[in-house]
């Protein structure tokens, strides 16, 4: 670890936790250092949403992002991953500004219903994302698929890091 490379001390990173709370449910929690109105904005404005939803480590590119954030409104995200493309889409079921969003994931019959809540905590936001799948099998399958996809991109990352450290070793 080379601390001198950092120009300024990194602020304390807030931990992300994931818990499988039942056979059909996953819960993700994270605190953000900003008020709910800003965090909510980042989840509901496409130009902001697309800045964070697809981190580079995922090895995917977001081709398009349309979001009509109101009850009954639709969203559609299109991705490219290598040569293949995928679309994710669904409907907003609940939209309570700065506090709660609920949407469906309709790209598969086994898609989850996602609920995100934004809770003010002394100028910060406690975000809780809850995914409810129609069956235990649907959650298992979603987990395995995601794990495989991530495993692939982590492997790419490992290879990249190996290359980098090998060239750093020569320098």
């Amino acid at each position: 670890m080379d601390a001198s490379r950092r120009s300024e001390p990194a602020p304390m990173k807030n931990p992300t936790t994931v818990e499988r709370t039942s056979e059909r449910e996953l819960v993700v929690t994270r605190t953000f250092n900003g008020p709910p109105r800003l965090v909510f904005e980042a989840w509901t404005k496409p130009e902001l949403f697309r800045q964070w939803w697809v981190p580079k480590s995922m090895g995917m590119a977001l081709l398009s992002c349309e979001m009509d954030v109101r009850v009954g409104g639709q969203y559609r995200l299109e991705f490219a991953h290598g040569d293949s493309q995928a679309a994710f889409f669904g409907t907003y079921q609940e939209v309570a500004p700065h506090s709660r969003l609920v949407w469906t994931n309709e790209e598969s019959d086994e898609g989850s219903v996602t609920t995100v809540t934004f809770e003010e905590q002394g100028g910060k936001t406690l975000l809780v994302m809850h995914e409810l799948y129609p069956s235990k099998e649907a959650l298992d399958a979603a987990g395995t698929g995601a794990a495989d996809a991530m495993g692939e991109s982590f492997q790419q990352l490992d290879e990249l890091l190996d290359t980098l450290s090998a060239s750093a070793g020569r320098a």
Binding site: T16, R20, F32, L38, A42, L48, W52, P55, G143, A147
Partner: protein
């Protein structure tokens, strides 16, 4: 551990799908469930890493919005 305590522990594991049990006569046999513990831990961790990476980016977006608010706030008071 008492038998009752053991039953409670096995019950929790069974509910989580980590073990399955079968009772024949007085003997209850436990086997690792359809979802093995390591696999479960591995995919939850990978899922967590996806969200952790996303949320690191979201931190940056929120920081940007905070800065913009401060600047806009100063403009309004000027």
């Amino acid at each position: 551990m008492t038998l009752t305590g053991m039953k409670k522990h096995v019950g929790v594991l069974e509910q989580a799908g980590l073990v399955t049990t079968e009772k024949v006569g007085r003997v209850r046999t436990c086997t690792l469930g359809p979802r093995r513990l390591q696999e479960e831990a591995a995919w939850i961790e990978r899922y967590r890493q996806v969200w952790d990476a996303r949320f690191d980016e979201l931190d940056r977006v929120v920081e940007g919005l905070k800065r913009k608010e401060r600047v806009d706030g100063r403009k309004q008071t000027e």
